[in-house]
């Protein structure tokens, strides 16, 4: 994976990238859908009729109402309410926000740690490279869910802890990707030139090599965000994820799990649908990004 390796002006490859990306109508639609979901999640306090995490606003007498029922406050449960009397729209929007928050926070941290590890390994080579990459290999040898279970069994529950677990799981993917492209970049003339100018190592690493490693990094990041959302949902379902007072999407589905057989479908169906659409849209975008950014598939 050499990335977009051409050195010429910054403008052109980006524009070409945008053009290439827009070739797929499906990917563009997916991106739009994702953007709408993401913005709605960020703006959830403005959009939702209720703060589902504020216990004062919940009334148990409003529990399990089907979609379209008016609530005891002055709004309508358009998607129904859950067992606690939470409005499902509000719960989904806030849940999306929590899911995004966990996924993005862990993604950013993991990208930071992973990129640093990858760059350092590629740049210094030798023993440093061996030790760092050995750690990455060992980590990658074990399935993500197993590592998450170990960590959460040891750490206990909580948002911070699940973020930490996700960072530990994800950093290796970034490290490996960045190292691979950095190794290629390191041998290129512009790095040699920078060396000749006696620029500090950190500057060469972060200002020269890193930007050229970005394309594969973006692909990995997209996929990892989707993975993080799905993994967090799975862990919450298994009961080792987030606390139940501030449910993420995964936890909402898990809560609705018990209602599925009893005809109260909306508690699990709508959050499940939201999760599905979110992950599918991210994956569609990521999928197409990979095609666009992978020079081997380009003619």
């Amino acid at each position: 994976m050499a990335g977009a390796s051409a050195i010429p002006a910054v403008e052109t490859p980006f524009r070409r990238f945008v053009d290439d990306f827009c070739e797929s109508r499906m990917a563009v639609t997916a991106l739009c859908v994702f953007a709408i979901i993401f913005i709605a999640a960020i703006l959830c306090p403005l959009l939702s009729p209720q703060n589902p995490y504020d216990l004062r606003q919940l009334d148990i007498m409003d529990g399990k109402l089907p979609p379209g029922t008016p609530s005891s406050a002055d709004f309508v449960f358009w998607l129904g309410s859950d067992g606690q009397g939470r409005d499902m729209i509000s719960a989904i929007l806030y849940g999306l926000r929590t899911s995004f928050m966990v996924a993005v926070t862990s993604g950013v941290l993991a990208a930071f740690v992973g990129t640093t590890v990858g760059l350092v390994a590629a740049y210094y080579g030798g023993r440093v490279d061996m030790i760092l990459m050995r750690m990455v290999d060992i980590k990658l040898a074990f399935p993500a869910i197993l590592i998450a279970l170990v960590l959460l069994a040891v750490l206990g529950q909580g948002t911070g802890k699940i973020v930490l677990a996700l960072v530990i799981i994800q950093y290796a993917y970034y490290a490996r990707t960045v190292r691979a492209s950095a190794l290629v970049e390191r041998r290129k003339e512009y790095v040699e030139a920078a060396h000749c100018l006696a620029l500090p190592k950190s500057r060469i690493l972060f200002r020269h090599i890193l930007p050229n490693c970005l394309p594969p990094l973006i692909v990995v990041a997209t996929i990892q965000i989707a993975n993080a959302i799905a993994l967090e949902a799975t862990l919450s379902f298994l009961g080792v994820g987030l606390p139940i007072t501030e449910p993420s999407l995964g936890l909402l589905i898990a809560n609705g799990f018990q209602f599925i057989l009893s005809g109260v479908y909306w508690i699990s169906f709508f959050p499940g649908f939201a999760l599905l659409v979110t992950i599918v849209s991210i994956n569609l975008v990521g999928d197409h990004l990979r095609d666009v950014l992978n020079p081997r598939l380009q003619k």
Binding site: M133, A153, L275
Partner: protein, 325 residues
């Protein structure tokens, strides 16, 4: 190669030590197992007796020391809950998990390769696009959600298949397995499909990518020029080349599948070791948690080692080395 293997094993021993230390102290910090096991109405004297019986009255470092000493002799302790050596407990559950994982992997190959080949062969066709879109859904659908839907549709609504448990075991060549009875197969189908779904998508995509990469290559053109039928070119020559990455990835995925069985086993009440670990975490049954992790870690180390060695045999260009790929 010997040096490579020895090095690998030493690293593995180190990983095992670190893991055991982490889990041992971590579980200790979470809570007091006696509070969970003890009958609610037990008095103080009974509580003290239980602490002693389980060796929990010792300081934690002493407990870890005993554990290490015993571990050297192959004894990973007894389950607090079952009073069975934890290794035995896990090995009792292992066949069920392996059976499920093996079926899931087989399913993913049987379904994934033909679909992937078609999608790669005619990438612009509508069916190919549908296959690829479905495969994205296969990646995206959370396993537990799919499992639930499968139960809802096939077990509850249609009543075609049983929803939980392993069913009747049959015996063949001394092996007990659900595969040898109709009832067992019926119980196996839903969980195996649930577990395979992710890998079906993965195999489809790998195969399709392989097809797309191989079809324009020179050897395909030569083969065609030689007058071989299209069928022969695709099913013999191209397929052979696609198989290398597919086999590697499937080999690596076996580990993933075994680990992900945790979710499937929870939903379908499949009596494998994934369910055991979740229950043990909830009960702070430390000997089982530690033993499970050590055993799975050893299992993954072996799987990875075998895959690496096989790969070097399949593809002579790959040299076994420690760092880098």
């Amino acid at each position: 190669m010997t040096v490579f293997i020895i090095r690998r094993l030493m690293q593995s021993a180190f990983v095992l030590l670190i893991m055991s230390l982490l889990v041992f102290f971590g579980v200790y910090a979470i809570g007091d197992p006696v509070e969970i096991f003890i009958a609610a109405d037990a008095d103080q004297i009974e509580r003290e007796r239980a602490m002693q019986a389980l060796g929990l009255d010792q300081p934690i470092w002493a407990q870890y020391g005993f554990f290490l000493l015993n571990a050297m002799r192959g004894d990973l302790g007894r389950s607090f809950v079952f009073n069975i050596p934890s290794i035995e407990l896990i090995l009792q559950r292992l066949p069920a998990t392996l059976e499920l994982a093996a079926c899931a992997v087989t399913l993913s190959v049987l379904v994934g390769i033909p679909l992937g080949m078609y999608a790669g062969y005619r990438p612009q066709s509508r069916i190919a696009k549908a296959i690829m879109a479905t495969s994205i859904a296969g990646f995206s659908l959370p396993t537990f959600w799919v499992g639930l839907m499968l139960i809802l549709v096939f077990a509850v609504q249609l009543g075609w298949l049983p929803s939980t448990g392993r069913g009747q075991l049959g015996e063949f060549l001394g092996i007990h397995s659900s595969l040898f009875t109709l009832d067992g197969l019926a119980h196996l189908l839903l969980p195996a499909f649930n577990l395979a779904l992710f890998n079906i998508s993965l195999v489809i995509r790998l195969t399709r990518a392989g097809m797309r990469e191989n079809m324009p290559m020179d050897y395909v053109k030569f083969a065609r020029a030689k007058g071989l039928t299209q069928r022969r070119v695709v099913f013999v020559h191209v397929l052979k080349n696609i198989m290398i990455p597919v086999v590697t990835v499937i080999g690596l995925e076996i580990g993933q599948v075994i680990a992900f069985a945790v979710v499937t086993e929870t939903i379908f009440a499949w009596p494998g070791m994934g369910k055991l670990i979740i229950d043990s975490i909830n009960r702070l049954d430390r000997p089982v948690i530690v033993a499970y992790l050590l055993i799975t870690v050893v299992m993954f180390i072996v799987i990875n080692l075998v895959v690496d060695i096989l790969y070097s045999i399949l593809d002579p260009r790959v040299r076994l080395a420690d760092a880098g790929h």
